[in-house]
C-alpha cells in the first residue's frame, strides 16, 4: 500500500509543484496520474522512489516512511520506466534487463532465468539478448524498458509517460501488454500520462491533477459519470463523455415520464378514447396506487370489444419491465433482443414511472454518433415543461 499524507513539493523560487496531496493506493492497483503539463503528476510519481523529495508531508509504502529508507535500496525495489526508455546503449539487451538483479548481486543463473522468462512474456525472440538497443525498434526498446522494470520482482512499477513517443499502433499493443502483465503479476502500477484514452483504458483508478492538487481520484466509470468540475469535464473531452453515456446512463435519464395508463376498472370505450386523445396504440394498466399490472393494445381491444367490458378483463398481465436505476446498456439489449416496442420503468414499489421506447434509443445512438448534446438537452427541457412533473424523485 502506498500512502501520500499531506505531501507538498515546493521548488526553489517558490513554485508549488505539488500542494497538500493525500492519496492511498492499494496493492495490485493500476493507478494512472493524469493532468496537463505542470500539474504535478510526474513530480508526484517521482516522489515515490525519491527521485524528487517532498518538501513536507509523508509518503508511506506498506506503512513505512520512505524518507527513513536508503534511497538506493528503495529504488532497487521499485521498477522505473521513462518515456525516453533510457536503455544503456553500450550494453546488450541482456545486460540491460538484468541491470537491477546485477546491482542486487543475484546469482548469474537466476539473472538469466529472469531475463529469458520476461523476454518470452513480451513476445521477443531469445536471440535479442545479445543485441544492442540501437538495433531494436522504438516499440521493442520500450518492451525491454518495461521488463527491465520487472526483472527484480519489484512490487511497485513507476511509469512516466512510457508510450508517449510511440506510434498509435505500437502504443496500443504495449498498453495491452502492460495491462496483461499487471493483471497477471498483481503488481502495483503507477502510471503517468496526459492521454485520457490511455488512462481510461488502463486505470483501476485515475488521479486527475491540476496546479499541483488532486481534483478527482476515482474509477474511470465514476469519473465519466460524475466529473468533479468543469476542468475534469474539459479534460475528459465532450466526445468521450457522450460516448461513455450509454454505458453509465440509467433508464431514468432517457425514459418518457408519465406514460399513459389506465386502471383495470375502466371500460374499453374509455380506453379507446384515451388512446385516441393521446395518439398511442397501447396502454399500461395500473391499479389505483400506480402499480403496474399489465397492458392492453389496440388489437386486443378490437378483438375483444364485443365480449368484454373492462380493461381488466382483457389486459395482458405478463409485462416485462425494468426498475428505475437500471443501466441503459442492459435495457437496450433487452429491447433489441426481444423486439419490444417499448419497456416500462417501475420504481422499487412496482409503480409505473416511465417508459423507454425504441425512439429513446434512437436519441441515445444519435447522441453517441453526432454528439449534439446541448440541442438534445434543450429539447428535453421543453418537453418536460408541457407535462406536469409528478414522478420526479
Amino acid at each position: 500500500m502506498i500512502e501520500f499524507k499531506n505531501v507538498s513539493k515546493v521548488y526553489k523560487g517558490g513554485k508549488k509543484a505539488v500542494n497538500n496531496v493525500n492519496l492511498t493506493f492499494n496493492d495490485g492497483e493500476f493507478i494512472v496520474f493524469i493532468g496537463t503539463s505542470g500539474s504535478g503528476k510526474t513530480t508526484s510519481m517521482r516522489m515515490i522512489n525519491r527521485m524528487i523529495e517532498p518538501t513536507s508531508g509523508q509518503i508511506l509504502i506498506n506503512g513505512e516512511d520512505i524518507m527513513k529508507r536508503d534511497p538506493v535500496q528503495l529504488r532497487r525495489e521499485i521498477g522505473y520506466v521513462i518515456q525516453q526508455i533510457g536503455l544503456m546503449p553500450h550494453m546488450t539487451i541482456y545486460d540491460n534487463i538484468v541491470m537491477v538483479p546485477k546491482l542486487l548481486k543475484w546469482p548469474e543463473d537466476k539473472q538469466r532465468e529472469s531475463a529469458e522468462r520476461l523476454l518470452a512474456k513480451v513476445d521477443l525472440p531469445k536471440d535479442f539478448l545479445t543485441r544492442y538497443p540501437a538495433e531494436l525498434s522504438g516499440g521493442q526498446q520500450q518492451r525491454i524498458g518495461v521488463i527491465r522494470a520487472l526483472a527484480a520482482n519489484q512490487d511497485i512499477i513507476l511509469m512516466d509517460e512510457p508510450f508517449g513517443a510511440l506510434d498509435p499502433i505500437t502504443r496500443d499493443a504495449l498498453q495491452e501488454l502492460v495491462k496483461e502483465l499487471q493483471e497477471e503479476m498483481g503488481k502495483t502500477f503507477i502510471f503517468v500520462t496526459h492521454d485520457m484514452d490511455e488512462a481510461l483504458k488502463l486505470a483501476d483508478r485515475i488521479v486527475i491533477m491540476q496546479n499541483g492538487e488532486v481534483v478527482q481520484f476515482d474509477t474511470p466509470d465514476n469519473i465519466l459519470a460524475e466529473p468533479a468540475n468543469q476542468f475534469v469535464e474539459d479534460f475528459i473531452g465532450e466526445d468521450r463523455l457522450i460516448q461513455a453515456r450509454p454505458n453509465i446512463q440509467t433508464v431514468d435519464q432517457v425514459m418518457i415520464k408519465n406514460p399513459i395508463s389506465v386502471t383495470p376498472g375502466k371500460s374499453l370505450s374509455e380506453a379507446i378514447r384515451i388512446m385516441r386523445d393521446k395518439r398511442v396504440d397501447s396502454l399500461f394498466v395500473t391499479d389505483d396506487a400506480g402499480v403496474l399490472k399489465g397492458y392492453v393494445d389496440i388489437e386486443r381491444i378490437d378483438r375483444n370489444r364485443k365480449r368484454a367490458t373492462s380493461v381488466g378483463d382483457i389486459m395482458i398481465d405478463k409485462v416485462y419491465f425494468v426498475r428505475e436505476g437500471t443501466l441503459l446498456r442492459d435495457t437496450v439489449q433487452r429491447i433489441l433482443k426481444r423486439g419490444f416496442k417499448n419497456i416500462p420503468v417501475v420504481d422499487n414499489k412496482g409503480r409505473l414511472i416511465g417508459l423507454v421506447t425504441r425512439t429513446s434509443l434512437v436519441d441515445v445512438v444519435y447522441d453517441t454518433i453526432w454528439g449534439e448534446e446541448e440541442e438534445e438537452l434543450a429539447k428535453a427541457s421543453v418537453f418536460e415543461t408541457t407535462i406536469p412533473e409528478e414522478s420526479k424523485e
Binding site: R76, I85, G86, H90, R131, Y132, A134
Partner: protein, 224 residues
C-alpha cells in the same frame, strides 16, 4: 666517402645507416617524454573533468585556467618552468603535462555532459549509486570523447617535446638542432624531423582507431 658528393636523399640514408641506433634511442626517448606528460595529464585531467561536470560553476573556471596555460607559447613555458625545475627531462614532461591538461579536461567534461540525461535518470531510478552511475554509465559512454582529447594532447605533446632539446632533455629535437647548427645540415634536420612527424601521424592514427573502437554507438558491429 665524401659527403659533399652525395645528394640530400643519399646523405639521409647514409645518416640513418650510420646513426640508426642513435636515432632510435632518441625516438624512444622523445616518445616516452610525450607519453609521460600525457599520462600524468590524463591521471589528473580525467577525474578533474568528471568533477567539474558535477559542479557546473567550477567548469568555466577550470577550463578557463587550462585555456590560459594553452595560450602561453611553448618556448616561453619551457623557459619559465626551467627557472623552477632546472634543466632536463622533468621540465619537458611537466610542460607536456600542462599542455595536455586542456584537451583532456575539456573533452572529459564534454564527454560526460554528452551522456543522455535520460539514461542517467533511468540509471539512478533503478537504484545505482553515484559511483556506479559514473563507472557503469558515464565513463563507458564518454570514453571515446575522452580518447579524442588524449589523441589531441598526444600530438601537441610530441611537438612540445621537440623543443625540449633547448633545455637539454634530448629526443629527436636534438638531431634537428644539430642539423640546424651545421653547414648544409639539411639531411640531418630531416633525419630528426621525419621520425618526429611520423611519430605524430602514427600516434594520431592509432589513437583515432582506439577512439572509434570505444564509440558506444558503434560497438554493435564488434559482437553481432
Amino acid at each position: 666517402m665524401d659527403m659533399t658528393q652525395m645528394n640530400m636523399w643519399e646523405q639521409l640514408i647514409f645518416y640513418f645507416s650510420e646513426n640508426g641506433l642513435y636515432i632510435w634511442s632518441q625516438f624512444i626517448r622523445h616518445f616516452l617524454i610525450s607519453i609521460y606528460g600525457v599520462l600524468f595529464a590524463g591521471i589528473i585531467g580525467i577525474p578533474l573533468g568528471f568533477w567539474i561536470s558535477r559542479h557546473g560553476k567550477l567548469a568555466d573556471w577550470v577550463i578557463g585556467a587550462a585555456n590560459v596555460i594553452q595560450t602561453i607559447p611553448s618556448l616561453a613555458m619551457l623557459s619559465i618552468l626551467m627557472l623552477g625545475l632546472g634543466l632536463g627531462v622533468n621540465t619537458v614532461v611537466t610542460t607536456v603535462f600542462l599542455y595536455s591538461l586542456l584537451p583532456i579536461i575539456k573533452n572529459t567534461y564534454a564527454g560526460v555532459q554528452s551522456v543522455d540525461k535520460n539514461i542517467l535518470d533511468s540509471g539512478k531510478g533503478m537504484g545505482m549509486t553515484r559511483w556506479q552511475l559514473t563507472y557503469i554509465v558515464e565513463l563507458p559512454l564518454a570514453l571515446s570523447i575522452i580518447m579524442a582529447g588524449i589523441r589531441n594532447a598526444m600530438v601537441v605533446g610530441i611537438g612540445v617535446t621537440a623543443i625540449g632539446t633547448f633545455i637539454g632533455a634530448g629526443g629527436l629535437g636534438d638531431i634537428i638542432t644539430r642539423g640546424v647548427n651545421v653547414t648544409d645540415g639539411g639531411a640531418i634536420i630531416l633525419a630528426g624531423a621525419i621520425p618526429t612527424a611520423l611519430m605524430a601521424v602514427i600516434s594520431d592514427l592509432f589513437l583515432g582507431w582506439i577512439e572509434k573502437k570505444l564509440d558506444p554507438t558503434k560497438n554493435k558491429k564488434i559482437l553481432s
